[in-house]
Subunit: 345 residues, 2 copies
Amino acid sequence: MDRTARRSENRYGNRPTMKDVAARAGVGLKTVSRVVNGEPGVTPDTERRVQEAIAALGFRRNDSARVLRKGRTASIGLVLEDLADPFYGPLSRAVEEVARAHGALLINGSSAEDPDREQELVLALCARRVDGLVVIPAGDDHRYLEPEIAAGVATVFVDRPAGKIDADVVLSDSFGGARDGVAHLIAGGHRRIGFIGDQPRIHTAAERLRGYRAAMEDAGIPVEDHWMSLGVTDPERVRRAAEEMLQGPDPVTAIFAGNNRVTVTVVRVLSEVDRSVALVGFDDIELGDLLRPGVTVVAQDAAQLGRTAAERLFRQLDGVTLLPERIELPTRLIRRGSGELPPAD
Amino acid sequence: MDRTARRSENRYGNRPTMKDVAARAGVGLKTVSRVVNGEPGVTPDTERRVQEAIAALGFRRNDSARVLRKGRTASIGLVLEDLADPFYGPLSRAVEEVARAHGALLINGSSAEDPDREQELVLALCARRVDGLVVIPAGDDHRYLEPEIAAGVATVFVDRPAGKIDADVVLSDSFGGARDGVAHLIAGGHRRIGFIGDQPRIHTAAERLRGYRAAMEDAGIPVEDHWMSLGVTDPERVRRAAEEMLQGPDPVTAIFAGNNRVTVTVVRVLSEVDRSVALVGFDDIELGDLLRPGVTVVAQDAAQLGRTAAERLFRQLDGVTLLPERIELPTRLIRRGSGELPPAD
DNA sequence: CCCGCATCTGACAACGTTGTCCAGGCCCTA
DNA sequence: TAGGGCCTGGACAACGTTGTCAGATGCGGG
């Protein structure tokens, strides 16, 4: 009959509200709100009574209502390709740290490299009214985000640029990194160098391919079509692609691997091959230094990517109006042995 | 002056509401709601007008308001130790997949193994009114969750049991796995076996230590204190601990490493040592098969842990009232060479 | 003793959505 | 043509919080 009894009829458990706390403490609703939010203007005695009621009832403020009222959610969304990919672990951790420093929570989802799923996720996050978005784009058309950005959702793209809209983007220098990596192989005496990478519709993959071509062209080496394998990342097909490059009339003496997953598989293949084949991979891989030979890589700093993007995001949120910018982080060639093997022929 | 003009005065951008859509389409508020939610009872013609207005205004439903009204958020929280740890990548991905299958979003945070931070995160998630929680506990006292669970927040602990409350938990058989791993070394002829693990206040670490002791005791081997190093995980100290075990009057001939991070560092140390020392690690590590020798591990299935926990969570949410249960998943010994090295003395 | 001021407190509306319920219009039948 | 049932649409309250504003209380000074 009384209020407490009525509450227990609620559908989902029976969480106390500020009203309940107020009733129990014998104060007004707004006073409870003041105590909960640490606002001034409450006598110590009143505050104590309210705190006791809060503790007794196990009250916890309902942030949904708060958000509705205040307009800000103190949460940001992170859409990436695959949470399980070791490349994204440090990246999301870095984004989380920055978010935490700004008192925001992180909601994240994996697009699985599917543009539709990316859009679905992003829009779901917008419906939750996240304050901002960090997106590693899977698709190449982000015009669907225009109304959201216009409505004030801060947005930063990472690792790959946004498609068909003008927005902030933070990425690694894929072109320069790949060019340097391939040039390193060329400097070591290699001329027949293979490239295994992802589909060129993925920006980073295309840039790395371009870097490969540029290094070859700079050295005056014509590239044979069958030295390049594009759009393969699953182990099975990478394996086959590598094996094919290593056979035939003019087999490659070195391979440039376009990302961490490709590198891992190529390492496996090369460990089973008699011949000594040089390898440089894009992205660092764990334990790369302990393999024999150590794996030479063009490393990018995933954590730095995430940190930079998140910081940019919160600068947007702090109300600074910034023109969309493209921030490119350098890569670093780490020599460990596999990239320094001389050509075997 | 008119409604549209007023809207643009809003603080945070100017997002259209259902009211705006209704005005533009010339229908009532509730009709817009019906269209947005796919409820029946709207003529095709009306629906078309509403859809047009939605598209023209760039309307997106405000889920905060929806949540406030409906009581469910369709989101679950995941609190783990460190998003960047390769062990948790597949785990969170698995949780995300299950959540997605149930139409829920995933909010996650890292506790950094700090009980206070865990509690802070968990309570922040509860304030957001997540429907459920998957928690990899850092602390050992979770009574602070009692009011939340009573209020209907479904909760499942993973990897380690909850402290001082009765709740679902999904974990790997740390004790059995460690015992088997150590027994494997003993079967290979080792008697002086070292153990390097995390602080025993962490349940998994304690269980693995217990497994180590059990295997030794089963074989009738008394354990020397200086064979065990507890509470060290940072590379520097693991390195020192390993080096100490390998020196002195009765140096160990084999090491059991208590988790993936320890294993990696021990592999590094052993690669610099002349002597041949056997190694079995808990947790699989990437590329463990490519090292020479390959790294023998007691593998647990992180994805399966996450999947099992999340499915249990949604079963709770589907209204099935279940008694708290402890689900233990088996581990698997993977022989790759390092665990099969004979004792060197 | 009363006034004015400062301090503390509470009533009320609003945030944007959904559930309830009723009104009006249509078609069908008697 | 009147009556009944069905379908569509809309008015209104409620979800739990916060911002606004005004009322109550207490205190010191004239």
